[in-house]
């Protein structure tokens, strides 16, 4: 078996939770966009060149709210600011990615990021190709889901209410896996309680940026206890 095929085969099982999640959420996105008068071609275009779940839902409101470029830029920055963290966390992992690197950076969605954090390639599988296929498969699911949603449009009859919980469940599972793997639980606790506190203080629309600031602040001030136990 070729190196790439082996990596693809090893990557696929890791992406199954995202496959289910992206298909359903992608479908929801496609249906909504179709409802605003944009056929499935637009859904494919957006999922291919933006590839950011929550931002694409915000994009629907930007597309229907009148032509305002400044507003578009500011909203995108606000909603996607958390991605800056992902890049920081992947600086090391993406070293030596070569030609794959621009795509890896482009496709660093919440879900792909969290899979890259936790998924390890089995023995004898090329790590960089393994990571590349995780990213690529995830985006293909997302494109397929949104196209399907656009095509199905109003023809969908089953009740999908609550299906978005699939992403919450995915993150909870990854949180648990990381918890088990880590010997210092402080960073995880800081992330959870820091953002929970900011959510209470600033509300659901504005809490992400304060959370990021608070988390970095705590991680910086209490650097020593955060790093403790990590060394054997």
């Amino acid at each position: 078996m070729s190196e790439k095929k082996k990596a693809l085969k090893a990557a696929f099982p890791h992406t199954i939770p995202v496959l289910t999640g992206y298909l359903f959420i992608g479908i929801a996105f496609g249906v909504l966009l179709q409802d605003k008068g944009y056929h499935f071609g637009w859904a494919i275009l957006m999922s291919a060149c933006i590839f950011a779940g929550s931002m694409q839902f915000v994009a629907i409101s930007l597309l229907t709210g009148g032509f305002n470029l400044l507003n578009t830029v500011v909203m995108t920055l606000m909603v996607n600011a958390r991605h800056i963290f992902y890049g920081l966390a992947m600086l090391d992992k993406f070293k030596g990615m070569g030609k794959k690197k621009p795509y890896m950076i482009f496709s660093l969605s919440d879900e792909t990021f969290s899979l890259l954090c936790s998924a390890k390639p089995p023995e004898g599988v090329h790590e960089k190709w393994f990571q590349f296929f995780i990213a690529l498969l995830d985006q293909l699911y997302w494109i397929a889901g949104s196209a399907l949603g656009g095509l199905l449009g109003a023809a969908m009859h089953f009740n999908t209410k609550g299906i978005d919980f699939v992403m919450t469940a995915l993150f909870v599972v990854i949180f648990l896996d990381q918890w088990k793997a880590a010997d210092n639980h402080l960073p995880a606790l800081v992330g959870f309680f820091g953002s929970a506190l900011c959510l209470l203080l600033f509300g659901p629309q504005n809490f992400i940026i304060p959370s990021m600031i608070l988390i970095v602040l705590i991680l910086t001030v209490f650097r020593r206890p955060m790093e403790k136990e990590e060394r054997p």
């Binding site: 637009w42 931002m55 994009a59 991605h83 609550g162 909870v172 960073p187 953002s195 959510l199």
Partner: protein, 111 residues
């Protein structure tokens, strides 16, 4: 469509460019060939743990604790995921089980 096709296209491409920028910024600031400052490397090591905690909160952000159903479906479903996962360690089972339970609750119990 309230916008014309070309206006829509400009909006979409702008969103795509700014999204890519937020993802690329750390790589532009700390390129491969330069050594990453120790502090940034430290952040890169601890942030993944912190961010997943943040993402869990982010997913639950629309949960209302003050009005019916007081976040009960979320609490039950998240607990179910935690229990299933500690018990069976099967990612797919934990996710599917929690999601189905949540859907049943919001569609039939807490409507």
């Amino acid at each position: 469509m309230t916008l014309t096709a070309s206006e829509s296209m400009i909006i979409i491409l702008t969103i795509a460019a700014v999204t890519f920028l937020t993802r690329a910024l750390p790589f532009l600031l700390f390129p491969d060939h330069r050594e990453t400052p120790k502090y940034i490397a430290y952040l890169g090591k601890v942030l993944p743990y912190a961010i997943i905690g943040m993402l869990v909160v982010y997913c639950l952000k629309e949960t209302t604790l003050t009005v019916m159903p007081f976040g009960i479906p979320e609490l039950i479903a998240v607990t179910a995921v935690v229990l299933l996962h500690t018990w069976k360690h099967n990612t797919l089972l934990s996710i599917a089980g929690g999601t189905l339970l949540y859907m049943l609750m919001v569609q039939f119990v807490f409507v």
